[in-house]
């Protein structure tokens, strides 16, 4: 359920989940199962996965900007070293990265 406070803070290391989710999904596959870092907290919004099927959008979800290392997403041969990709990801698609874990 949505909490009154966000689960994550700017700077937190988070993993994007990879999970079957029939219907409308706002988490692109290219960040699923990857590690990123919270760079902004956008606020709480009605859940598009519910609204897309005429639900009422509850529970509302916290939305974060998450930064990813582009080389980790797409391989080091594309783009410039140090490139990052930022994507807006909802809280229920994130979990805290375990200590010491690094992106595949």
């Amino acid at each position: 359920m949505s909490s009154d406070t966000p689960a994550y803070r700017v700077g937190d290391a988070v993993d994007v989940l990879c999970k079957p989710s029939p219907g409308h999904v706002r988490t692109p596959r290219y960040v699923q199962d990857h590690q990123g870092r919270i760079t902004a907290i956008h606020g709480r919004f009605r859940d598009p996965e519910s609204l897309a099927h005429r639900g009422d959008g509850t529970p509302a979800r916290w939305l974060y900007e998450v930064a990813f290392d582009a080389a980790a997403l797409w391989g080091p041969s594309r783009g410039t070293a140090g490139d990052s990709v930022r994507a807006d990801i909802f809280e229920h698609w994130l979990r805290q990265t375990e200590q010491g874990a690094s992106d595949r």
């Binding site: 990879c18 219907g23 699923q32």
Partner: protein
């Protein structure tokens, strides 16, 4: 409600669930994306405006229209332009919501096609 095709692809060491053909970000497709400057055609501007007006009026949530686009059969989806997909999504949601019937849409389309030649 029909569920979308679940596409599983292997990317490197893992497999990730794409939610449909629309979920194509990051996929190789043979070179840099060509993003030419182009003015929107009148019908594209109108599509955008009609969608905004319908959402503002409470006819549907924009998320429904996006989801409806994602339900377009993958072969058709890839052959359609951006605003053609918008129109497809809008039509589907208007039918789902009982605002228009497919017959009404077809009849009006035929009428306009005859008028405009």
């Amino acid at each position: 409600m029909s569920l979308p095709l679940q596409v599983v692809t292997s990317v490197g060491e893992g497999s990730r669930m794409a939610s449909g053909v629309h979920d194509m970000g990051g996929q190789p497709h043979g070179g840099p994306v060509n993003v030419p400057d182009h003015a929107m055609a009148d019908w594209e501007v109108l599509t955008d405006a009609v969608n905004l007006a319908l959402v503002a009026s409470g006819a549907y949530a924009v998320d429904e229209m996006r989801r409806a686009q994602e339900e377009i059969e993958p072969g058709r989806y890839l052959a359609m332009t951006y605003y053609e997909r918008w129109i497809g999504g809008i039509e589907q949601v208007l039918v789902e919501r009982g605002i228009l019937t497919p017959d009404e849409i077809d009849a009006r389309t035929a009428e306009l096609a005859e008028r405009w030649g």
